[in-house]
């Protein structure tokens, strides 16, 4: 065939072949690189997703000092189990100790005075007794008798006053003792020390933003799940839920419903900055869980999936607020 003899025809065929080869090679859609860990997936057909944070079942206690003062000793370490009334830290008590010394020193003189008064009373009683036992009116004047009697009664009242003063002095001493006791800050309940933000030598101020010691119960943990307020109507009480910690999406933690917080609060986006920026409001739902086989910690973030009952997904069950627009910024 004449066509076969022409070089141009072969070159043309070669050109088409090369183009086809390049095209097939170039237009292949490369698959997405596999994620380094599985992304969290919902185990339910219909779900409400939320982001959660692990916290102790009894909300954490932010220990504060009763008065501002210098810290002289911290008794606990982070992670330590403490019982109720166990001392946590000690505020500087030297001033009160000094006061206690004076207050205590005020007691022995009073006691001595009381003793003195007792003897005085004894003496007067004896006098009165003696005078009374004399029946001769010429030997003991009525006046003497009366005087002694008054002196005795006065001495008795004096003793009473001294006793009262002693009581007062002891009360003053006790006051200082109690105030002293207050300077040792104790655990209000059993728990684990989650944070210690004070060291001996630091000054504890009242109302500081950071708790001096954070006390919590980490034996039982719970999840606080944030749900966008737009999705809030989709959550029903007692809905089942699962959670997974970030980067371990395939290890599901089953959750038990506890309660829905009735107040919708501004969401904190956890950027780790001092002041968090609020971008929306969230409904919080509390779930409890058993400690899984792998370690989890209070404060850790979770991806939470809550089962949604409604089968009519896009029909009438849709809450009106979810339609169309983003809320204006």
């Amino acid at each position: 065939m004449i066509i076969g003899k022409r070089l141009s025809v072969w070159l043309a065929l070669l050109g088409i072949g090369f183009t086809a080869w390049v095209l097939i090679g170039a237009n292949k859609h490369e698959p997405m690189p596999t994620p380094i860990s599985d992304p969290p997936r919902s185990p339910y057909p219909h779900t409400v997703a939320a982001s959660g944070i692990i916290e102790a079942v009894n909300e954490n206690v932010r220990i504060a000092p009763p008065v501002a003062g210098l810290i002289t000793k911290v008794f606990v370490k982070v992670g330590e189990q403490v019982n109720e009334q166990a001392p946590l830290f000690q505020l500087d008590e030297r001033e009160l100790r000094a006061q206690l010394l004076t207050r205590e020193a005020a007691i022995p003189p009073l006691q001595a005075q009381i003793d003195e008064q007792t003897y005085k009373i004894g003496d007067l009683e004896t006098q009165l007794h003696r005078l009374e036992s004399v029946h001769d009116e010429r030997a003991v004047s009525e006046d003497d008798l009366k005087r002694t009697w008054y002196a005795l009664e006065m001495a008795k009242r004096g003793a009473q006053r001294l006793h009262a003063s002693l009581k007062q002095a002891m009360a003053q001493r006790d006051e200082v003792t109690i105030l002293l006791g207050r300077l040792t800050v104790r655990a209000p309940r059993n728990g684990t020390v989650l944070q210690v933000n004070v060291r001996a030598g630091e000054y504890a101020t009242l109302g500081s933003a950071e708790p001096l010691i954070l006390l919590g119960e980490t034996e039982q943990l719970q999840v606080r799940a944030d749900i966008d307020e737009v999705n809030a109507p989709l959550v029903v009480p007692q809905a089942r839920g699962t959670a997974s910690i970030k980067s371990m999406a395939n290890r599901k933690i089953p959750l038990t419903f506890v309660r829905i917080e009735p107040y919708v609060i501004p969401k904190k986006s956890l950027t780790g900055e001092n002041t968090e920026r609020v971008d929306t409001r969230v409904l919080q739902v509390i779930y409890r869980f058993e400690r899984p086989s792998f370690p989890v910690y209070a404060g850790q973030q979770l991806d939470v999936f809550i089962e949604r009952q409604s089968s009519g997904t896009s029909s009438g069950t849709e809450p009106p607020s979810t339609v169309r627009t983003e809320q204006p910024s």
Binding site: I2, I3, K5, R6, S8, V9, L11, A12, L14, G15, I16, F18, T19, V22, L23, A26, N27, E30, M32, P33, P35, I36, S37, P39, P40, R41, S42, H46, T47, V48, A49, A50, S51, D226, I227, D228, V230, N231, L234, K246, S247, A249, K267, S269, T271, G272, E273, R277, D279, T280, F305, R308, T313, S314, E318, T322, V323, T325, E326, S329
Partner: protein, 376 residues
Amino acid sequence: MNYVALKMLFGDRAKYLMLLCGLTFSVMLIVQQGSIFWGLMMWSQASISNVNVPIWVTDPGIAQVDEVKPIASTAVDRVRSVDGVEWAVPLYKGLLRARLASGDYHQITLTGLESSTLIGRPAEVLEGRFEDILQPDAVVLDQWAVERMGGPGIVTVGTIFELNDKLARVVAIAKTQKSFTNIPVVYTTYERALRYVPRERRALSYVLAKAKDGLVVDDVIQRIREQTGLGAFTEEDFGVKTIMWVLKNTGIGINFGTTILLGFIVGMAIAGQTFYLFTVENLRQFGALKAMGASGLTLARMILLQAFTVGLTGYGLGIGLATVFGFLTARGGSLPFVETWQLLLLVLIALLTICAVSALISIVKLARLEPAIVFR
């Protein structure tokens, strides 16, 4: 008779080569221009194809991928709550300035990937390990960032620079498609990206999602739109949206479009004209054949055969040359050149139409031809 027709075509080597050259270069011109144009368009949506995930969710008013309008960070959970969504992860994207140790400033695109999955990362890494991005202060650059910031001598694995006064350490160089604006891309994790960027009330740029296998992606996208009120797009639709934006809002559409159109017209005109001249010059021979008693139909068939033979040969050579050009120049990715079968098909159809039209004109001319002309 076919043999005679081909003999006529190939017989005059010089004439044949001239004819072939005309066709070849017009095809090459069109294909090359078209491919460069399409390559440029692909570059404009490089931010989308580099991330390579099926569904993009963001503000419904979005015009194109690089014009980010941040949305509330709970959008990730809201998208996850939509039926049929297999997974959804956040993506940060924003412009920032990088300051090198030498004091040079460079505008960069900061891309924050979800830290536990790193969905949206480039498939190929040229240097280092992409997973090292999880180390403190670690970032990954793309190869164009290295080029723009001064080459491997200045920026390489281990280089330290500043992003918004905060430390960034290069741990890997990734291979990506070059983008139209060629702003260097710096990858980091989503959480760290929020630390690098200045404060804004909202930070989340995009939610990347995937529909469950076996579901129609468009249905899922429709559901995301209805349930969240956000804009959801497939990768392809978002790409088209971005390309349309570029065409509408930059001069490329008009400028390049005119060039391509001119190239197309010129190429086709040359092809038609060359072939027409060829038949006209061969009119004498056809006249002789006619005088010998060849029917009009046979002659028409001969002319069409010649037209399509030379047309297809020219087409093959043309696209071959264009492909070789593209293959050699665009292999490194620094020149936009994307050939598509649609373009090749379009050129083929146009070329065959031109050939057929010019053949038809010749046929008409031949039909009117007096066989006696040969003897004049």
